[in-house]
């Protein structure tokens, strides 16, 4: 135990109170120093660095509004839809709390997508921040589960059929699939049992996991230190700043410098967020789909069903994976195995690759395209976990990558955004013209899906190509 600190009886009330707590719960003060006043973050953070703290803000908004919604919501197939309308019409201010929650869900994904893109731009997932990135990817997965299960609760048509489709994804798993789907639903169709268990997961199980993961994400981050737009380590630079002789010279205390900085971002964010909450809570059917104002009807699927915007890119990949896509994958695998024979690798590795390719082709052709659709969709998320090891570029930040790398990243962003748009659109021909009938949503999505996967799978190759620009020894920073 640390020494008991005595304080002069003439000290101020505040100092005495501080001393009283410091003797009994020093952890509190240590944590404050470690994570706030003595956490030295690089001083060159730019616009992209707002989104981490914004994600934390949205998490708090979702938890608080969620607690209040739970006070009036009824997780029962008979009364759920009506209880949401009750919140909207009868509970004083209920509409405000609910629209904050529904807008918060979309805001969460906007902020998280931008936060992840920042990581991609500046190589924030690279050594030694692999675990920070992986915790982040698990947070993203948990967030997807949280959003999906929350979307069932209003028990509208899109809630119902969205859940029906996603739960059926699991039934595509060979052998155990149908039983797995049954265990998730708790009934032969999505019903009261499903609604109840999703409610339980949405309000307690997943949020607990989410909060735990956010803590792990932040602790791991504070252990290794923040990356920055230049991708050079401030801990490897000179030591000593205005606050401490041992701290990195290019670091500034998180509090007050970045807390104040983030308040600007929070101010701008809240303006946009509340503009949506007050003036366009459905945001043209993208934040709350119009069909969800119709109570769930297990006998009729709405004419056009698409998930909420934040899932559409992955949904588009699922929809694009039909037999032609499987054939395309078989051809690609076969070509890769053949090309490998002309490489300078050892014969054993060539044979190994060929055997793996044959097994891959066999599996692709054995199981249904439906299963591979699920694999592609899941794989598109899971592949993010491997990013730290896929990127072989000698520099971290996009700033010092060869110029054409920006084009590659640009194409990736275009692929992702187009997949989002296609996932929200109806399947079938994109244009109402018979000469363009061949240009279907699925075919375009297929090409874009291959583009998305190629960006990651070929990264070990393309990220090494080209000559990077010289990295500076210290971060670049202009005084203002």
């Amino acid at each position: 135990m640390a020494e008991f600190k005595e304080i002069s009886p003439d000290a101020s009330m505040g100092a005495k109170l501080h001393n009283w707590f410091d003797n009994r719960f020093p952890t509190m003060f240590d944590a404050y120093r470690k994570h706030m006043s003595e956490y030295y973050a690089p001083k060159n953070f730019n616009f992209w660095y707002f989104f981490g703290s914004l994600a934390l803000l949205v998490l708090v908004i979702q938890i608080v509004t969620g607690i209040f919604l739970t006070m009036n919501y009824k997780p029962d197939a008979e009364t759920a839809f009506a209880s949401v309308e009750f919140i909207m019409r009868e509970v004083p201010g209920g509409w405000f709390i609910r629209y904050m929650h529904s807008t918060g869900a979309s805001a969460f994904f906007i902020v998280v997508y931008l936060h992840m893109f920042r990581g991609l731009l500046y190589g924030s997932y690279r050594k030694p921040r692999e675990l920070v990135w992986i915790f982040g990817c698990i947070i993203f997965l948990a967030l997807m589960a949280e959003a999906f299960m929350g979307y069932l609760l209003p028990w509208g048509q899109m809630s119902y059929w969205g859940a029906q489709v996603i739960v059926n994804l699991f039934s595509a798993v060979p052998f155990i699939g149908p039983d797995l789907a049954l265990l998730i639903r708790g009934d032969y169709v999505v019903g009261d049992a499903t609604l109840n268990r999703f409610f339980s997961f949405h309000v307690i199980a997943v949020p607990l996991v989410l909060v735990g993961l956010v803590v792990a994400h932040l602790l791991a981050l504070h252990d290794v230190g923040s990356n920055n737009p230049d991708g050079v380590e401030i801990k490897e630079g000179p030591k000593g700043n205005r606050w401490s002789p041992d701290a990195p010279a290019d670091g500034i205390p998180f509090h007050p410098y970045y807390t104040v900085h983030d308040i600007v971002g929070i101010g701008v964010f809240l303006m946009i967020y509340f503009a949506v909450v007050f003036f366009a809570p459905e945001l043209g059917g993208y934040f709350i789909e119009y069909n969800n104002f119709i109570p769930a009807d297990p006998l009729v699927t709405p004419a056009h069903i698409a998930p909420v915007w934040y899932f559409t890119a992955f949904y588009s990949m699922l929809r694009a994976t039909t037999d032609p896509m499987v054939t395309a994958l078989v051809v690609i695998i076969a070509l890769a195995a053949v090309l490998n024979f002309f490489s300078r690798r050892s014969l054993a590795s060539k044979i190994g690759v060929a055997v793996a390719a044959i097994i891959g082709v066999f599996l692709l052709k054995t199981f249904d395209a439906k299963f591979w659709g699920v694999v592609v969709m899941g794989g598109a998320v899971v592949i993010l976990f491997f990013l730290p090891w896929l990127d072989r570029s000698p520099v971290k930040s996009i700033r010092y990558r060869p110029g054409w790398h920006k084009v590659v990243y640009g194409l990736f962003v275009v692929c992702f955004i187009l997949l989002m748009i296609l996932g929200a659109a109806s399947p079938g021909p994109l244009f109402n013209k018979s000469s363009l009938e061949w240009l279907t949503n699925e075919r375009v999505a297929m090409v874009l899906t291959l583009g998305y996967l190629a960006f990651f799978l070929l990264m070990p190759w393309w990220s090494q190509l080209g000559t990077p620009k010289p990295e500076p020894d210290r971060i670049t920073f202009k005084k203002h």
């Binding site: 059929w161 029906q164 489709v165 996603i166 739960v167 059926n168 994804l169 595509a172 049954l182 265990l183 998730i184 639903r185 708790g186 009934d187 032969y188 169709v189 019903g191 049992a193 268990r197 297990p298 006998l299 009729v300 699927t301 709405p302 004419a303 056009h304 069903i305 699922l318 929809r319 994976t321 039909t322 037999d323 032609p324 249904d368 395209a369 439906k370 659709g373 109806s426 399947p427 079938g428 021909p429 109402n432 018979s434 009938e437 279907t440 949503n441 699925e442």
Partner: protein, 214 residues
């Protein structure tokens, strides 16, 4: 890190083999107990007895169903379609044989009764009456009626009529057979059904039994 330990080298006590053995035994027994404890929680995810019992067959009266008309009834919470096909609809079936993925319903992922394993996917003596579970075999949406032939949005120009699943674009002919190269791997499922009289039938029950076809 108290002062009284300073200057004294810490020597770990020698491992006591019998203590270690009991520690491991206790840990293993405890782990087994924890796994056993998880079992009742895991099985609570399975459908309740009430949900299991709700699978009884339903009786349907189709006397009001005109030629070319479809009705929907609920069986086990799923939509079951009954379509009284007219001549035009039945005539499309030989034409779609070459276009559908599994013309004779040979696949077994969604088992159907033997009397439905043919082009018209219905009982031979009542070819006009088609009974289908209106749930897409892809991911469980309920497809929409597209009975009108000819070019129309989202459908090919040589469309003869059938169903279209708006979720992922699978199309089905007037026997509920899925067209080739669509996300759905299987034809729409035909449940057990049998006629009680000219215009009355059981859904979910036939001469061979009740419930799912196995």
């Amino acid at each position: 890190m108290n002062d009284n330990t300073a200057g004294r080298a810490f020597t770990p006590a020698p491992i006591d083999g019998s203590k270690r053995a009991w520690l491991i035994t206790t840990s293993v027994a405890g782990a087994a107990g924890t796994v056993a404890l998880a079992a009742p929680f895991a099985v609570s995810f399975a459908p309740s007895e009430k949900a299991r019992a709700a699978g009884a067959p339903v009786e349907v009266d189709i006397s009001d169903l005109g030629e070319g008309q479809k009705m929907t009834v609920a069986w086990r919470g799923k939509p079951v379609w009954i379509l009284r096909r007219n001549e035009r609809m039945l005539e499309t079936l030989p034409k779609t044989d070459a276009l559908v993925a599994d013309p004779d319903s040979k696949r077994t992922a969604f088992p159907i009764p033997d009397y439905a394993k043919n082009e018209w996917r219905a009982r031979e003596d009542r070819k006009d009456i088609l009974v289908l579970i209106g749930i897409c075999t892809h991911l469980g949406c309920s497809p929409t009626d597209k009975f009108k032939p000819g070019p129309q949005p989202s459908l090919p120009d040589n469309w003869l009529g059938g169903w279209f699943c708006a979720c992922h674009g699978s199309t089905f002919d007037f026997s509920g057979r899925v067209f080739k190269d669509k996300p759905a791997p299987d034809n729409l499922q035909v449940p057990r059904y049998m006629f009680i009289s000219e215009n009355k039938l059981w859904i979910g029950k036939d001469e061979d039994g009740e419930g799912d076809v196995v």
